[in-house]
């Protein structure tokens, strides 16, 4: 499991996080190489989303280090981490519901906007070229996700499945190197889930992405992931190929223990 530093995109060392006296994550270390699609699984309350929140700056780690693209990002504000190249989706969808589908995606392009606030306030030519470029790029992304014909719809009025897809489209629009997906298939039926997994595999190739995927359902990630990390009660209990994970007694126990 040793990788040369040039290939490592995300390197987490001994990251811990506690809330009050409660230790939500203890000394989690993991790394993700460029281009990998990694699964993060574990029973409910294992700390998967907490780990995402540390990686994206929602809270700083209590201790430990997070290196993204050779730069320490532990404790950085979320918008900075996003600009450093890590974009995410949320388990409980967080779209800008009263904005249109197109505007939702445009928000992610804002960080690349070439026109300043003052050119906009005065409607100088630069405002129109800047806005036009953002619109063009946002529409391109929507086309990939088959959402282009709904561009003028309010995000909150879309179907559940489309809201999930829009959230991924929005994350992608930020131009990330690392994409973090928090249970993207939650609440979808098996057909929708299969389509989504195919889409994820496709955008990974197309955009040269590295992806970290949280999934509650173990069987789902087995097919698509290169490697899998397993969290249980705030600790990393296993990592390896899907086959290794499937046969790991600790993992089986964590899952069965939860069901028992």
């Amino acid at each position: 499991m040793t990788a040369s530093t040039a290939e490592v995109l995300l390197d987490v060392q001994q990251a811990s996080r506690s809330f009050g006296g409660l230790k939500a994550l203890s000394e989690v270390s993991l790394h993700i190489n460029r281009g990998e699609l990694i699964g993060l699984i574990g029973p409910n309350g294992a700390g998967k989303t907490t780990l995402f929140n540390l990686l994206t700056g929602v809270y700083p780690p209590s201790s430990g280090s997070i290196i993204l693209n050779n730069e320490s990002v532990g404790g950085m504000k979320p918008f900075r981490i996003n600009r450093k190249g890590a974009a995410r989706t949320f388990q409980n969808i967080r779209l800008f519901t009263a904005m249109t589908v197109l505007d939702n995606v445009k928000i992610a392009f804002h960080q690349h906007a070439k026109h300043s606030m003052f050119t906009s306030m005065l409607r100088l030519p630069k405002h129109f070229s800047g806005e036009g470029e953002i619109t063009q790029k946002a529409m391109d992304i929507l086309k990939i996700f088959n959402l282009a014909d709904q561009f003028d719809e309010l995000a909150g009025n879309m179907s559940y499945g489309n809201q999930r897809r829009l959230e991924i489209a929005r994350a992608l629009a930020a131009g990330p190197k690392l994409l973090l997906l928090d249970e993207p298939a939650a609440g979808m039926n098996p057909n929708e889930t299969r389509d989504l997994m195919n889409l994820i595999a496709w955008i990974r190739e197309e955009f040269d992405l590295t992806i970290l995927l949280i999934e509650h359902d173990m069987s789902l990630v087995m097919g698509v992931c290169d490697r899998i990390y397993v969290l249980d009660r705030g600790m990393l209990i296993a990592d390896g190929s899907p086959l290794e994970i499937r046969n790991n007694p600790k993992v089986i126990e964590a899952y069965l223990g939860q069901e028992a």
Partner: protein, 318 residues
């Protein structure tokens, strides 16, 4: 973007026609001085409401201290013209910038708060500004300043109002304005999508304060006297009511709210004893039966006149 472009120019033409008609009515004497004063008051309130809407309605930051920024503008501009003979328009610009500076200074510590807590903090700051003015001899203490030159004419007033509405509307309809709306919609997601939410909240606060300050300066140079009592919590609340009455989050709503409330106050002036009772009863009934305001949050737009079906490809070629 073409759609927005077209509605923008229709709006500008409409404003010009409106100005022309009123100007004719004023010069021919069909509208008297009282009417002119009412029109100026409406414009002042439009500036205040549209600027507060940027903070409350667009960025979703619940502020009820807007009269504080207005008072800063009023006092700064009055002192500049009274004691330093600064030309009127320059004094207005400076007073707006000073108010914006205060917006930044107050915004940095308070904008980390959200919801009710922010509302209370802005209320507190508004009151503190008033109490400081009350205790400052240089600005006349409780009796305030008087003899301020009455330089706010209808034409100047209209121009400033138009600039305020156009600039704020342009801001809202740009990527920067969308960043503010995203903060209102979901602050955590906005931050996760690379929006510097703190920065944009402060920008919205400062822009709102800027125009409120200018409105304060125009008001001081219309009504000849200012004192701390005219910029108390009730004034802040009045501006908030205008914004909510029209429909929180829409510029046109804020304009309509400002007009309706100013006219209502002018009409109610005839019944001084029942004025506030009627006003408060209207407020309560309005909130119970039409909590989204007269126009709702989408507001009215000249878009409806620009008939062309919206297509994003337009913007690319325009």
């Amino acid at each position: 973007m073409k759609k927005l472009n077209k509605s923008f120019w229709i709006g500008i033409v409409f404003a010009m026609v409106l100005y022309g008609v009123i100007q004719i009515l004023l010069t021919t004497g069909i509208f008297d001085d009282v009417m002119e004063s009412t029109l100026i008051l409406i414009c002042i309130n439009v500036m205040l409401a549209v600027s507060l809407n940027l903070i409350n309605g667009i960025t979703g930051q619940f502020s009820i201290g807007h009269a504080g920024f207005m008072s800063i503008g009023a006092y700064v501009s009055a002192i500049l013209t009274l004691n330093f003979d600064v030309p009127f328009v320059l004094a207005l610009v400076i007073s707006g910038l000073v108010a914006a500076l205060f917006g930044v200074l107050i915004g940095i510590p308070t904008l980390r708060l959200n919801g009710d807590y922010l509302a209370i903090a802005t209320l507190g700051f508004g009151e503190i500004i008033r109490i400081v003015l009350l205790n400052t001899e240089y600005v006349g203490g409780a009796s305030g300043l008087s003899g301020i030159p009455t330089q706010t004419t209808w034409t100047i007033m209209f121009l400033f109002t138009l600039v305020t509405v156009v600039v704020i509307n342009n801001f809202i309809n740009s990527s920067h304005g969308r960043a503010c709306i995203a903060i209102r919609e979901n602050e955590i997601a906005a931050e996760a999508m690379g929006i510097n939410t703190t920065l944009y909240k402060i920008i919205a606060f400062a822009l709102g304060a800027l125009f409120a300050g200018i409105a304060g300066g125009l008001s001081a140079h219309k009504f000849y006297v200012i004192n701390p009592g005219s910029f108390n919590f009730l004034k802040s609340f009045e501006i908030l009511v205008m914004v909510v009455l029209g429909g929180l989050g829409s510029t046109s709503g804020a304009i309509v709210g400002a007009i309706v409330l100013t006219v209502l106050f002018t009409v109610l002036q005839e019944y001084p004893e029942l004025r506030m009772i009627i006003y408060s009863a209207i407020l309560i009934l309005m909130m119970i039966f039409r909590p989204k305001g007269l126009l709702g949050s989408t507001g009215f737009s000249f878009k409806k006149f620009a008939k062309k079906e919206a297509k994003p490809s337009d913007s690319i070629n325009s």
